[in-house]
Amino acid sequence: MQLRINGRTREVSAEPHESLLTTLRERLALTGTKLACDRGECGACTVLHNGDAVYSCITLTRACEGDEITTIEGMATDGALHPLQQAFVTADAVQCGFCTPGQLLSAYALLARNATPDATAISEAMSGNLCRCGTYPKIVQAIQRAAEAMRAGDA
């Protein structure tokens, strides 16, 4: 079957019960998407599926045939960080970094549908991504900074 991953068509074989997380990590070596709870609770495995943030650990690969998948590896373009990535660096919204790829993709999906989220909207949209180091306030700041930077970039 074919998947469109980060803008490229990839030919993969996947078991009927195989999760998108397993396909990405074990078959395509895209290990930026993290395996943590493996049961749709923590958000470390978040990827974009046709632009929506989904938990790849509870998404079946076979259900994604032909669809657009974006992983953390597809977020920077030609080595230039996406404004969200840059904002996470600048605001120090990263400690151990294990949850970070998932946080970034959830934030990406949020900003795609709401360019001017307030802190409440950010907290709500990010509630499916856990951080055990406790960087939540800085994640909110980083997303607000990135939103500003992206609006300035569009203007």
Binding site: H17, E18, T22, R25, E26, A29, L30, T31, G32, T33, K34, L35, A36, C37, D38, R39, E41, C42, A44, T71, I72, E73, M75, A76, L81, Q85, F88, V89, T90, D92, V94, Q95, C96, G97, F98, C99, T100, P101, L104, L130, C131, R132, C133
Partner: protein
């Protein structure tokens, strides 16, 4: 312990000396080497341009791009996967293990249990695959398969038969007459409570004008680092390499070598990026040994990653406590007595990480008595968890101080200032430094403590109440030897710092890069910190007990300063001047009058492959001085 004979450089100088090293309140005497080169500490007069600055984490870019490789991301050619079969009873005995259901499944290759061990192996303090069950979740067997899914399915298909026995889950059950014994001869650890006294508690009570008693309970708390406990093991002949998500690569190496009966030099432990630990990843665990055993049996690399529920049931916890606190004070708020009785159910294993030390360390008080009773119960063992014991103790004592302030009609902050401890009364010694007063002053000013009554009225709705509080903390954090670092200037003028420490996500890489850049006079962007490899980086201890910066930082600093000395010597020959006339800053060497300059790159280009290196080691701490950290937190909370 006798002081070993001097093998020193100069007459009368002892190179190796005994010293006391403290970790989380526990003391240990160690032999340490006096560093060749021990520069004076940077004090407040030092001009620092990189240390102390807010800089982006040096590894942030790797983390936001997904390039940072964690242990769970390690993939080796032909790698297999392991899963653990766990007991589903809390107490009793496994009478039969039937692996046939697992071995029938596609992809399942091997099942092991206690009968398959080459010899008894201790994993995380308990014998691996012990058929005598002391808690639900205890590892009994393990399955190896071609995929993680198959390994998990195989683990679910192994049939265990038990003889179940009565069990105890709470402190009250464990100490009831006739209670079943979890291990040894008594559920009370070491047979009796631990009592520590200073002065005379009864006298302190008699001297008090105001006495309050309160009971506090704190719940069991789980670490749940986002990256589960995980290991990848691979053998090459008789050499074993383990990638492990750990706070202590050398501790894992030593435990694996001892339990698998290998020379330490045959075991290499690697940890690059790590998704948190919080105290639960200090040791080689069952998953480590299971990966190593299967790798040996199958001839393939094997990865073992705990599932989330295993992470929560058998990967450590902060134990619950019950604390009964009595405080007595004179009318002006001086504490005359602190008396605490604490009960801690540790689980089936664990150690005495209790709340009592906090009661003895936090305040000045002539009469202190703490009694802690640690019991074993049929639940998973506790593990160190971010200031073990102190968090629980701080919660109870600091709440009791607020109650006492109320009884005295005093401001809670004023009560704490009255009882500020000028010296370490617990160990009867001076502090190296204690800035708790500045914490109180600065915190109160920034928080607006004095205005809180006015703000109390500012609740946003009638059904909402607003409250204010503060709590102080004390914690040992001085670090200590041994810890080593090598600092090398590469031929392209970049700098490598090598040390066998770990970055748990705390920022150790960034801090050590800042120290090296500052001490060497290099640009921060040119410094790379290479950690976490027992074979390729020199020894550093576990990243626990707030020790890493204070232990490894000085080693990096003296290594970088030694490298700078050599660099300036080389440059002085090229610039035809004295090394003492040269300074280094921003990767540029200049004469003190700034008349002539050479960049690091110009020097290293001329040197070719002649390397500039410095080796640093952590010297002993000053004797009989309390190296403690202090803090205060203020909170404003609305309750609906």
């Amino acid at each position: 312990m006798s002081t070993p004979a001097a093998a020193g450089k100069g007459a009368g100088v002892q190179r190796f000396v005994s010293t006391v090293v403290e970790v989380e309140g526990r003391s240990e005497t160690k032999i340490v080497e006096m560093p060749d080169f021990e520069p004076a500490p940077w004090d407040e007069s030092a001009t620092l341009t990189i240390v102390g600055q807010r800089v982006p984490r040096v590894d942030a870019r790797e983390k936001v791009t997904g390039r940072a490789r964690f242990t769970t991301d390690i993939q080796r050619p032909g790698m297999l996967h392991a899963a653990i079969v766990r007991a589903t009873i809390a107490s009793g005995r496994v009478t039969a293990i039937d692996p046939s259901g697992a071995l029938q499944l596609t992809g399942v290759l091997d099942v092991i249990s206690s009968a398959d061990l080459p010899h008894p192996i201790k994993a995380g303090g308990a014998p691996l695959f012990l058929p005598a069950v002391s808690y639900a979740g205890q590892p009994i067997a393990a399955v190896c398969a071609e995929s993680r899914e198959a390994a998990l399915a195989g683990a679910a298909a192994v049939r265990l038969t038990y003889e179940a026995a009565p069990f105890v889950l709470t402190f009250e059950q464990a100490t009831a007459p006739g209670a079943p014994v979890v291990r040894g001869t008594s559920n009370v650890r070491r047979g009796s409570p631990v009592e520590v006294t200073r002065g005379d508690a009864a006298r302190g009570l008699a001297d008090a004008h105001v006495v309050i008693t309160r009971e506090y309970r704190t719940p069991c708390v789980l670490h749940t680092p986002l990256e589960p406990h995980s290991a990848v093991a691979e053998w090459e002949d008789d050499r074993l390499t383990i990638w492990e998500s750990t706070q202590g690569i050398f501790m894992v190496r030593d435990q694996v070598a001892m339990e698998l009966r290998l020379a330490k030099s045959k075991v290499r432990v690697i940890k690059d990026y790590m998704g948190g630990g919080f105290g639960a990843k200090n040791h080689a665990g069952p998953h480590t040994f299971i990966a190593a055993l299967f790798a040996r049996r199958t001839g393939h690399p094997v990865r073992c990653v705990l599932e989330r529920d295993e992470e929560q049931t058998d990967a450590g916890n902060r134990p619950s406590t019950r604390q009964v606190v009595t405080l007595g004070a004179t009318r002006d708020g001086r504490l005359t007595v602190i008396d605490a009785t604490c009960e801690v159910p540790l689980g089936a294993g664990g150690w005495e990480g209790g709340p009592a030390a906090f009661y003895r360390e936090m305040y000045s008080c002539p009469n202190v008595r703490t009694v802690e009773t640690f019991v074993h119960v049929n639940t998973p063992a506790m593990m160190a968890f971010r200031a073990p014991g102190h968090v629980e103790g701080a919660f109870a004592l600091e709440r009791a101080m607020d109650v006492l302030a109320g009884a005295l009609g005093m401001d809670p902050l004023a009560l704490r200032l009255v009882n500020f401890s000028e010296r370490d009364e617990e160990k009867q010694r001076e502090y190296s430094s204690n800035r708790l007063r500045q914490c109180y002053d600065e915190g109160a000013a920034r928080f607006g403590w004095a205005d809180r009554e006015a703000r109390r009225q500012g609740a946003t709705a009638p059904h909402i109440r607003r409250g204010f509080g503060l709590a102080a903390q004390v914690w040992g954090a001085g670090g200590g030897p041994p810890a080593y670092a090598t600092v090398r200037l590469n031929s392209d003028a970049t700098v490598d710092v090598l040390s066998g420490t770990q970055d748990l996500g705390t920022g150790a890489r960034t801090v050590l890069a800042q120290i090296a850049a500052e001490a060497l006079g290099a640009r921060l962007a040119d410094v790379r910190v290479i950690l976490g490899d027992t074979e390729r980086t020199p020894y550093a201890g576990n990243s626990w007990g707030s020790m890493t910066t204070a232990s490894v930082g000085p080693a990096v600093r003296s290594g970088a300063m030694e490298a700078q000395q050599r660099l300036l010597q080389a440059a002085s020959q090229m610039m035809e001047c004295h090394p003492e006339d040269l300074v280094a800053h921003d990767s540029i060497i200049s004469t003190r009058d700034n008349a002539r300059q050479m960049s690091f790159a110009e020097v290293t280009t001329k040197l070719g492959n002649v390397m500039i290196m410095g080796h640093g080691s952590r010297g002993p701490n000053p004797e009989n001085v309390g190296l403690m950290s202090f803090g205060v937190q203020f909170a404003e909370v609305e309750v609906d």
